[in-house]
């Protein structure tokens, strides 16, 4: 992890805290968009460009637009205070939980990219898709080949879930047409 990655991690933490603390809804939506963009860049640092693109398009793009549309259709409560009031007992409980995670769980996690991780403990399986993808499917992006060829049935289910999301929106809004 380079200096840039650490700077990015600090930026993500700062925007996440700002999302919680800001009082004004529009400010919250804007910092939340910045948080998603930071996460997308962090995913590219972790060599997961497919996830990064999804995060940038869905998290920073569509979610921000839909939230903006929601406050445009409902109300944006006017406020003079910059900061949300902090509930101290809740902060204490959540803080204790985070501290526990940092002390007990974080040291047990493997460093990024080392070969002792459990994922690599069975190289016959994990290396199989990386080695055989091009010969078996003819595409060079292993993520796409697993998604659409090796696990095509799962992806069919996912696509139907997206379809169901569209249908259930109509049900919730009690409408029969989208437009």
């Amino acid at each position: 992890m380079s200096v840039l990655a650490y700077t990015l991690a600090v930026f993500i933490l700062a925007t996440a805290v700002a999302t919680v603390l800001f009082r004004d809804v529009l400010s919250v939506i804007i910092v939340f968009g910045a948080y998603s963009l930071g996460m997308a860049i962090l995913y590219t640092f972790l060599l997961a460009p497919d996830v990064a693109m999804t995060e940038a398009a869905i998290g920073a793009g569509v979610t921000t637009l839909l939230l903006l549309l929601t406050i445009a259709r409902t109300t944006r409560p006017s406020t003079d205070r910059l900061r949300e009031r902090v509930h101290l007992p809740a902060v204490a409980v959540v803080g204790a939980f985070v501290l526990l995670l940092c002390v007990a769980v974080l040291p047990e996690m493997y460093a990024v990219g080392i070969t002792e991780t459990p994922v690599w403990s069975n190289p016959d399986v994990t290396q199989h898709y990386i080695r055989e993808t091009y010969a078996q499917t003819g595409v060079s992006n292993a993520v796409t080949s697993v998604l659409a060829a090796y696990r095509g049935f799962d992806t069919f289910g996912e696509a139907v879930v997206v379809f169901a999301a569209g249908v259930s929106t109509l049900l919730v809004l009690k409408r029969e047409v989208f437009a």
Partner: protein, 169 residues
């Protein structure tokens, strides 16, 4: 085109110009990601989202109501259900060729083409259609919103006329 009932829209020269410049690039990038997902990062889900976002951006810049009249309900429903039907049909087609559901190996043995083309077909004609259609539809349904007094199941245009009258009081 200022509409009295479209209270989500404010005409802004800055946004309109920015979207005019950006939209061709995002549309091209979304299509590239969809069609080139096999050999580069991306694929139907990401590409379909970016194509959908291009329409959302246009709606934000030039008004939701004109965009909604341009993209009819039947077109959106056709995109979403068509994507699911094409995806399922390709899967069943592989059974017809003697394999399992969505098993593209049959393409190699019967037609002597790479299994890649079956995979690209479900990415381009299945997933990306469903995802872009649902993105645009979610946006339009949320923009239309929900009000209890409005009768359910009416088309966009009749309804907006109703709203125009009821908002006057």
């Amino acid at each position: 085109m200022p509409d009295p009932y479209d209270d989500t829209y404010t005409e802004s020269q800055v946004i309109m110009t920015a979207v005019k410049i950006i939209a061709p690039f995002t549309l091209t990038y979304g299509l590239f990601m969809t069609f080139h997902g096999g050999d580069a990062p991306g694929g139907g889900f990401q590409g379909g989202t970016i194509v959908g976002v291009t329409v959302l951006m246009l709606a934000f810049a030039f008004g939701i109501e004109p965009t909604r009249q341009w993209l009819r309900n039947s077109f959106l429903v056709g995109l979403i259900t068509g994507g699911v039907i094409i995806f399922g049909a390709i899967g069943l087609g592989m059974i017809a060729l003697g394999g399992n559901f969505l098993e593209f190996y049959q393409l190699k043995e019967i037609f002597h083409i790479k299994p890649k083309w079956g995979l690209e077909a479900i990415e381009i004609a299945g997933i990306s259609l469903i995802v872009s259609g649902v993105m645009i539809s979610l946006f339009f349904s949320m923009a239309a919103g929900f009000s209890p007094e409005r009768p359910s199941g009416t088309g966009g245009r009749e309804e907006s006329a109703d709203r125009g009258v009821s908002d006057d009081d």
